[in-house]
Assembly symmetry: D5
């Protein structure tokens, strides 16, 4: 099935307005004071918009204020449904493969540095940057930053 | 099944020697001039050792030179078998969840910044760092850096 | 496969000693100052023992101090492998069924009471109690208590 | 697919009326003399409404009496379809993870305390509470209370 | 994998003794005052033996009293692992197919006759009988009898 | 997805008429000279109606004779699609669990009583009865009766 | 895993003796008065041997009479475990593909010719033949012959 | 989901016309000079129609020549989607079970008779016949005939 | 579900225009200066069109310039959703089977020839050719050509 | 599990001898007059050795003639078990991804060029070549060549 069927109904309205206004996620992120990743997640229904986000988005994208897009975006997202797992999209699969191949290496290093616990995926932020090396090749740099949560002794 | 059954036979020897010598991945990484993540991946059979790596590891860990651990570590790894997918280990699951929740957001931002292609998971490196914020809370920072590979037009 | 194949090697030693000494989880929990659920999780390799836990357990269960059970129990657990999911054991399946049937109800109530976030399963504790009602029927009462983690705005 | 496709047709009507009337599950639970969890389960089609529940809900939510929402809510629910298993929603996954990690620990403790049997998920009730600790942190407390059912000897 | 790998270790001892003594499940059931189905379940590690069961079985099967078969049989069974689901064994698949084909029919009839609830599989017994019809054909008659458990209103 | 999507198109018409006429499966079964389980299976598209069944149902339910419900009900059912397997509905799951837990016990007892073969699920009938024991508790009694089919020697 | 792990323990003995004696399934089938397919099924633990089969096999293959191969072969087979489904072996996959592609065509033709029922896979026999056409090409001809079982009206 | 959703759009038109004209697959097969199985496969979108097939079918079924049913039937089928695997339909499951139970027996006999290779499922034909034995019982006989393809040495 | 449901909305328009204009993929590939495989991938939404591709396709296929097919084809494809995996289509399954059977052989040969790394499926092209051998038999020749990517040492 | 557990027992002997003799697949392929891919497949138990292959391999690798490696290699391979599907090894996954992304494109082009049928994976050969482009970059070129098999009309 197409990804559209998996997204909340307001996603289509957002993507259409973004295309019509020729705005990038970078533009929108700047206007909202949020990360591009968070803004894209908002478009895919994977993050929640604050009232301020909604106000700025409505203005920036020219959304009709009486539509219920705004109300929906402030609802509690039903996360995790955007795509199948394991991912079939090559770009997303590469991230999955990193978890598959290096998962235990990350665990071993994190346990050694922090103890017994996890990196939160909730109290979490992320960004995507572009680097160009001396040979002119581009590199994608994804930073995952999550709060350290030790297992509670009970 | 225990993870030991999923690892190459030299893994047990490496972990035992590391424990006996009270070495951290950080110590070993410094001695090998590699990242801690890569060293841990080596221990889990997910990366390949160069002859220099083997020479230094043999000395550092006090591995008997006539064992075939060295030869095995220079073989071509059979990657991806360390653990089940979806991961059942909470620490590793959080990384999987990030892919599940933010996969399309990463794709949208990367497509916008770079075009049609992927971030390589092969021409790739990664590191784990610890940050402590002003409130004293610790944060895990994982950096994923992969070469940009555009889809070839054909 | 039998559950024994899925547990760390020290599990068998602990269960045997517990049976031989005719100790209950309640006895051990009292001696360790921990919850019975945590103690049972320790036996199944799903929780980590502190040095004090190990010292008390060694004494209480009469474990030979030179075995490496103690060292293993202080290692970082490789959690989540004790049994298959969906569970095939009827007692455990009932808990799974509660998540299946009431998962969205819990989410809706928690979102309403707390906002956008999750109940942590890491910064978490749990206990099992027995209640007998006025008709003499017994009830199992499981309390799940986890820290509230709001999604970080980024 | 969106969760709406998985719910009975009356769910949308209930959620819309609740939003329009600015009622919380707590308000509705008080009016019906039921737990918030049960009320939310009713909204998701996972519990059955009594004639009294229907009468009160119709009045409280301002449902048109001639719609067949009432009749449907008194039908026998086709439970268990609200979401996928394993859950992809982070909040619900945490509950699943608790079953995965602590399932055998719960079984061991319950067997020790009660004998050979299960905690019923049918003759069962549950509630969600909020606690704030001395540091001002919030905790989610979920209580699962099910009747003890011993295996019949036959 | 062979079924033997999925059974508790005492199963092999029981089956061998039964074959050596040329006893049927009917014989053993009569001696124990239990149903043949329950006795077979005991052999497959799916039911628990009482001390009396163990005493009679030890005598009947000529088990050496100092083996720990007896102790194991009184432990709490780890049920549900005897075979794969969906079943690959034709006889067992037919039972699975009955659930697949008639599951909703059973639900509809039971809801009509009893209300909103389930037939317990715990407070449950079962028997297998043989009938021969007037044409000389044999019929297998399986009776499943479980206590009615209504969903608790909460 | 809702169960309605999995059923043949005539199912909705039958259920609606049954509700409108306030008929029970017992009423309909009596009128058709069939078992309640078979009648419910007919409603769910899991059994085939004879011309006499159709004639009586049309009259009893007041179906318009020119609809093609009748023709469809005499077609060959495409069985097995009513619900997912493993079942997510608690009532149906209990039946599945009985197969999971007692499957090999049934096989062992049936092999002992009948030889090498199966109980047919085709040349088969079933009924559901209610029993009330001396304490006033209700019990569900499901009888599964299938012809014995020995494996042909070839 | 290798197929050997999935077969009963007597399979290896039979295959070894067959190779040592340079016997074909055709030779053995002739000696036993059975089909080659049935004999191969016997070797893979998917069919039951009669006492006469065992007597002839023991002599033909030179099995030591005091081994318990004979006894095991007369036990009730635990069928269906020889290989994974979907099959990964190309020869067996082709048979699976025929079911996948032509399953509904077979059903439609069989329903038309026979009514509402199934072809038994129990009261069943099968053979494999070789045909060479006029161009010298070989064809495999598999005949599946099963008793017609109409659904019982109940 | 209903099988209709899985079939090409022309399937419904064909089945309706067949019913309206009271034609059997046997009638149609005779008119087209093809096997009944092939004709049924054509109806389910699992085989391709030649221009002559289309001409005859159009006339026989009274299809409107200007519909695009004809064009569609001459397209290249997207095979294998008619039903789920493992099959849930009892009739089709029996064929699947034959592959599961006898797959390795077929392989062993075919390897012995033909060498290292497979029976083609492409260069393949099949038929269904009815036999009545001396006791009056009906038997379904399915013949699978595929060209022998030896593995190429390379 | 039909493949149409899995493709982007512009796919239907492209296929219809191609059929109406009686163009082959070869014709279109020549006009676009691309491989037939790439053109077919474009039709199935698995590759991205450049502005020049869109201009030529619009002219060649007579697409209405004001439709948004052009804009959509220049979007970033959501790859990998065209069909199920494992494939059920026999032609595509054969390619899957080659990976299943020869995957490790390809890996061993590639590692020997190139070292530790992968063949890129992104920096990649492919073509399909027809060869006819001396006996008149046709052969399909698929060439997969991907850039060699060595694992980065880190 | 390690790949060794999935391979026939002679695989380990072959790989060890190859390493000890410092032979490449290219060396062995030249000696046997076979493709490197076929030789590697032989080592992984996915292809069959002819008597001549065995004679040359025995000599080349210095295998002890009285071992039964030779006999085993002439047996009929039980293909398809070398690794899991979907593949977890990155190199093999890339091949799987090509099938996932381009499967329908290959089908469309092949149908257009050849008609209704498949490329055989049995009457099939393959090779791996290395190309270096003008920039010094290496490319992996895999050729898949299979006989065209049209669907038989029946």
């Amino acid at each position: 099935s197409s990804i559209i069927d998996r997204l909340p109904s307001y996603s289509a309205a957002l993507f259409e307005a973004k295309t019509a206004k020729r705005l990038t996620f970078e533009d929108i992120a700047r206007a909202l004071g949020r990360s591009e990743v968070a803004v894209a997640a908002l478009f895919y229904g994977q993050a929640r918009a604050s009232p301020e986000d909604v106000a700025r988005l409505t203005e920036l994208l020219g959304l009709s204020p009486e539509t219920n897009v705004a109300a929906q975006m402030m609802g509690f997202p039903d996360r995790g449904r955007a795509g199948p797992m394991p991912p079939v999209e090559p770009l997303i699969y590469r991230l999955y493969e990193i978890v598959q191949n290096y998962g235990y290496a990350f665990k071993a290093v994190i346990n050694e540095k922090f103890g017994d616990g996890i990196m939160s995926a909730i109290c979490f932020h992320s960004k995507v940057e572009k680097e160009v090396d001396e040979t002119g090749s581009s590199w994608v740099v994804i930073t995952l930053k999550g709060k350290w949560l030790p297992f509670t002794r009970f």
